[in-house]
Symmetry: C2
Subunit: 434 residues, 2 copies
């Protein structure tokens, strides 16, 4: 008898038949004798409809009132899910974020979970009840309803699993995130037809792929899982097959040089060239950009003597605003040139095995070069390599990278990705060997 | 500076433009310097849609989960109303039943308010905020969300007004129930075109008229007002005019023999004739009927020696079930005859002045007789007379009763209603003088 947390997203509970399909999954887990907590999101397009209502009132709704409004979406779902479970003959009880004891800070619309009072859930488990928990919401210590922001329901599920001891000390239980895909793939199957579903992926790889454009899981809940060592099982809500388990690195994962690759399209590149290379310049530039609430992708800088060249990418939609900020920066510096390019994409490969293998970057660059694809910026972390390429070559770049590391083959049958060589060292290394 | 409680029903907040119209009313009261609490219901047909969703899941949703579901309707309304008030430049804060400190018993879907912790509202008032309160809902002492059942938002408004001291010791403040009618009329204007709007009516008269078929206010909140002596101002949400104030009886109201009249249609009459006239018979009969959850209208009994005749009316829709229960009762008694009539209506006149005037019943009976309308059962209280008439004569009976007491004329210009005579006595009398 273990604790199973099952999370169903908005698409999975979009209508009554789907709610019942999810309820039957919950019922299966319960009938196996487990303590089950179900986390549900708002049904289908409910969230969009509520936002639309708010926007019909005002362009600038107060965050507190937005939380009051948005939290009703999950409340409807938990009531209906409980009713469905009860009609299947199971004992179930729905609980709002506040009732669950999910204590957050007071930052409305993007609150952070600070603590979970598991006594209440524990009492329900002891009475043999399935707990149907509202995802995405919590309660601040002064009794205000808060919401956790994007990906909040996943965060609720992982946090609940952590609080309930799932995976603790290598122990049992599970945190299952049900979604409308089979799991995490080596690449988005819509872009790379021969992409393979992964059985396992590490938190770090998942985080790198998520920030590189993979949309399966929000980075936040993966970080939560990583922090509390909760294995996260991502699987399809309407299929019985196992999905992908996101967990910490195990010994055998070191052999996987590249776990997967991802594409982010519609990027623009801003370059501030020939700016003074002195202390404080970068801080000033990015403070101006940060004030405009723009999220900046990879930043690179090169220097030549007294001059520096600073370059970074942003989403197309932020380009106009970032141009204003960058122009202002150059004015303040009194010197420099601004270059703006649009129509770019970023292709990334990630894998914890990079720490133990060399030649990975070279393999990727060669593959792109052989395909006649120009590379603009290159950025790397110790487990990721990203190349900025022309947008029209984005999907091709993704496919040739995927092929170069033989990601279409089962792990044991790969020739270790082109020219990648195993580095025999016990110590995880930082930086990527070229 | 007084406390004003304003309640807006579902029709009044059915869409964004209407929410703004209500918000402007609230703003007016606030700008006059009052502390304002706004109570809102769920928007338009939200409640029906939520019930429909629940019914798509199961025919027998658990009351607790129904409350979890239904309470979201008001939560959406309070968030939107707060946003609307804020966008008009006012400081407002929405509060759920639980946040308001509306403590109820644990009887889900028809909970009763037990206490209100006004400290929380008081704090918001002190900060200069308008409190936007979710009607219809509360919280039990173990933290469960409860709802108050039909007319619950009115009950919330009156209970809040009582807790906040509206009307206490003849003091200031107001409890305004905004609705889609101008106020309480001498009769339903759709049935009696020359009906007049009343400036004042007593709690008792309103209760009698409500139970006699007038749909303006649910009896429950009127009883609440009566219990705590809160004057209730019923008025139109989209018009500036004063409506009707429901309050306790004042000296000048004694002169109003009949305040208004009402019609209840689609009644059936059940008669148990020639049943044994002995102790316990009535209790047995109505226990059987009560078990079927049927609400019985006026009951009358007459006796002849050892035999009794018991007669009562019910809604048409309950007739089939009540017939089964009544048949069982006669079987248990071992003797008696069952008679069932359909197609009946009840016309009632009510007024606290009846206590001080004689000839009121005679006036009504004569008017019905002159119009050629047969009267079946007659029942009276000390401030009401009801006659059961054929359904096809229901509206005519209502109109001739209305005319007989000259309810179309302003109060001072009435000839005291046909043959009604003032009884010069200081003591309020019980029973109606024929």
């Amino acid at each position: 008898m273990a604790v199973i947390v099952q999370k169903f997203g908005g698409t999975s509970v979009a209508d009554v038949p789907r709610i019942f399909r999810c309820a039957r999954r919950v019922a299966d887990a319960r009938r196996q004798g487990h303590d089950v907590a179900v986390v549900v999101s708002a049904m289908g397009h409910t969230t969009d409809q509520l936002i639309e209502l708010a926007n019909a009132i005002t362009d600038t709704p107060s965050p507190r009132e937005m939380d009051m409004l948005m939290s009703t979406g999950e409340q409807v779902s938990i009531a209906l899910m409980s009713m469905a479970l009860q009609s299947l003959g199971l004992d179930a009880v729905s609980m709002t974020g506040g009732q669950l004891g999910i204590l957050t800070d007071g930052v409305h619309t993007k609150a952070k979970i600070q603590a979970i009072d598991i006594d209440r859930i524990g009492r329900e488990f002891k009475s043999g009840r399935i707990v149907v928990a509202a995802g995405f919401q919590g309660c601040s210590d002064d009794g205000q309803i808060t919401t956790l922001g994007r990906g909040g329901s996943d965060a609720t599920a992982v946090a609940l699993a952590a609080a309930l001891g799932v995976g603790r000390n290598g122990g049992g239980g599970a945190c299952e995130i049900y979604t409308d895909v089979d799991g995490v793939y080596t690449a988005d199957p819509r872009q790379v037809p021969n992409a393979r579903k992964l059985d396992r992926i590490t938190y770090e790889e998942m985080l790198e792929l998520a920030s590189a454009g993979a949309a399966v899981m929000q980075p936040r809940s993966v970080m939560f899982g990583q922090k509390f060592d909760v294995p996260i099982h991502v699987r399809h809500s309407q299929k019985p097959d196992a999905g992908t388990i996101i967990s910490k690195e195990t010994k055998d994962m070191e052999d996987i040089v590249v776990a997967g690759c991802a594409l982010k399209s519609d990027l623009g590149r801003i370059s501030l060239r020939r700016i003074p290379n002195k202390a404080g310049v970068q801080g000033m530039v990015f403070e101006l950009i940060g004030r405009a609430n723009i999220i900046v992708d990879d930043i690179i800088q090169t220097t030549h003597g007294d001059l520096a060249s600073l370059s970074f990418t942003v989403d197309h939609q932020d380009l106009a605003e970032v141009k204003i900020a960058a122009t202002k920066a150059i004015e303040q510096l009194g010197t420099g040139e601004l270059a703006v390019e649009i129509g770019l994409a970023k292709v990334s490969v990630a894998g914890v095995g990079m720490r133990h293998h060399s030649g990975v970057a070279a393999t990727m660059f060669k593959a792109l070069g052989d395909a006649g694809i120009m590379i603009a910026n290159i950025t790397t972390s110790d487990i990721k390599i990203s190349c900025i390429v022309p947008k029209e070559h984005g999907e091709k770049a993704l496919r040739v990278s995927h092929d170069a590391f033989e990601l279409d083959k089962p792990q044991g049958m790969r020739a270790m990705g082109g020219g990648a060589r195993s580095i025999k060292t016990d110590r995880a290394r930082s930086g990527v060997e070229l």
